[in-house]
């Protein structure tokens, strides 16, 4: 567990260094989901990083629907040995497998679908979960979605399908940070209770109150796993803070898609000690 907490610090360093190096990318949501990724790949999921296969038979699968938080995804995959950590240097540069938004197109191990255009990942996760059922594969499919992303209509087509068809090997987590590009979700398009909406659609809904506390996230995802296989898809409303771990990026939507300058990078790194080696 201590190792994983240290890993969170290192992943945060990777995130800010990656976006700083190319002066582009999305640090806010990435930082806010750091504990989720570290918990998922460091504790919850069963997978074989060294022998990645697209089909992932016998493994748990993860789909990132809000693809713009690729920095936290790439850092976690690299730190878990899907590909060399040094490759994080190529993020968003020409000829890289680490595209601005995740893609299968360049063959990066760990990625099973392109995402970036929002609202599509829940449908894909449902499809993969249905395929697992057909294959008598009892592993679980995880997906992550932004709260702002729930404004896309396809999400609700998918939510209706998953409950109606008892896709109960699926755990969809909502990164409830209350922020999106133009401002707070309440200002842009008030959504009311996300949990109540999924409940009304027939999902088993639970909440992780402290989405930036690693122990809480691990406990919450274990709880979610225990709720699978019971006839309902599971929705985890995970409350996080955009920019978590870098004090001046927190509590605002302003760092959704803006990279830090040199000074800001130094400040962010000072708040997150190097625990593994920087890439």
């Amino acid at each position: 567990m201590n190792d994983l907490k240290g890993l969170c610090s290192q992943v945060r360093r990777d995130i800010v260094r990656m976006v700083h190096a190319v002066n582009s990318g999305h640090p806010g949501g990435s930082l806010g989901c750091t504990e989720y990724f570290v918990a998922l790949y460091g504790d919850i999921m069963k997978y074989d990083a060294k022998n990645f296969t697209m089909d992932g038979v016998g493994e748990d699968l993860f789909f990132l629907s809000n693809g713009h938080i690729s920095p936290v995804y790439y850092s976690t995959l690299a730190r878990m040995d899907f590909f060399p950590v040094e490759e994080l240097n190529t993020f968003r540069k020409i000829d890289s497998r680490l595209q601005g938004h995740p893609t299968t197109h360049e063959g990066l191990p760990g990625i099973r679908i392109a995402s970036g255009s929002l609202g599509q990942g829940m449908s894909v996760a449902i499809g993969a979960a249905e395929a697992k059922k057909l294959n008598n594969d009892d592993r679980t499919v995880f997906s992550l979605h932004g709260d702002g992303e729930l404004q896309e209509g396809q999400i609700w087509e998918a939510a209706m399908y998953a409950a109606g068809n008892k896709v109960d090997n699926l755990i969809c987590t909502i990164d409830a940070n209350g922020q999106q590009i133009d401002g707070s979700t309440d200002d842009v398009l008030p959504m009311g209770s996300i949990g109540a909406k999924f409940e009304a659609f027939g999902w088993d809904v639970m909440t992780i109150e402290k989405g930036n506390d690693l122990d809480s996230v691990i406990a919450g995802l274990n709880e979610a796993k225990s709720r699978t296989g019971k006839g309902k898809p599971v929705c985890v409303v995970m409350k996080t803070e955009m920019g978590a771990g870098v004090d001046f990026m927190m509590g605002t939507h302003k760092w959704h898609g803006v990279a830090p300058n040199d000074e800001q990078l130094a400040e962010a790194l000072a708040q997150n000690p190097e625990t593994l080696s920087d890439y």
């Binding site: 392109a114 449908s123 249905e130 396809q154 399908y161």
Partner: protein
Amino acid sequence: MKYTDSGSKDTRSGFGAGLHELGKSNENVVALCADLTGSLKMDAFKNDFPDRFFQTGIAEANMMGIAAGMTIGGKIPFTGTFANFSTGRVYDQIRQSIAYSGKNVKICASHAGLTLGEDGATHQILEDIGLMKMLPGMTVISPCDYNQTKAATIAIADYDGPVYLRFGRPKVANFTNPDEKFEIGKAQMLKEGKDVTIIANGHLVWEALQAADALEAKGVNAEVINIHTIKPLDDAAILASIRKTGCVVTAEEHQRNGGLGDSVAQLLASSTPTPQEFVAVNDSFGESGKPADLLVKYGLSKENIVAAAEKVMVRK
């Protein structure tokens, strides 16, 4: 060889029959439908393979995403809905989750074009081939009759990659050999000739054969080629024919912009500039009416093909 109509059948039933065959022969084939099971003739598959049939309701975007996800785990999903809802409505889902992601999804689209008939322009998509052929890596197929649609449906299951398969609603002539294997990307020579090449696909292949007969009566020896695969295009077959005839008419139930004729024109312009006339819908929406009447009104009848052939031969 002279082609004769063995009895009118709808191409969508060819799809349904092909899909049912695949259900028996390939356990990885799964089918998804957005509340149009009867229209798409997917009932036989649904009844005999219920565990592999997925009803998504009227939610095409979700259907495309689920199909993409099902390939992860080795399934070969065939989606079924009308051509309009198979393409325009879900373009971004196809673009990102299927084409860019390189997923082995077969997008099967019925009721394409004007010959959908009475439902009118909201459903008569005439832009679908253009939309699909612009997507990198997408294979685009528009077979000409029941037999060929059945064969194409079976053939695309063995090809690894995204495919758009377009067919239609009305009963039309069924004239190709039921035993002929379908080869993706391979032109089908239907009638050899030396004066003018007529390249057609979909429902207009039969019109093209009728037009060739009419031209023959006027002393014009037309060659008729079925380019059922718009992408990848059979460049060699088209160029070989053009070398012989020196002019071409393309005929399709689609907009001129983005269709078969446009693909042929690109090939010819960059290789062998050749006089070409286009039998296609010219920057217009369709309307309600009987299929045959609509083909006449929008300039897609055999008479239009004859006129285009006579016109293009003068330009040689």
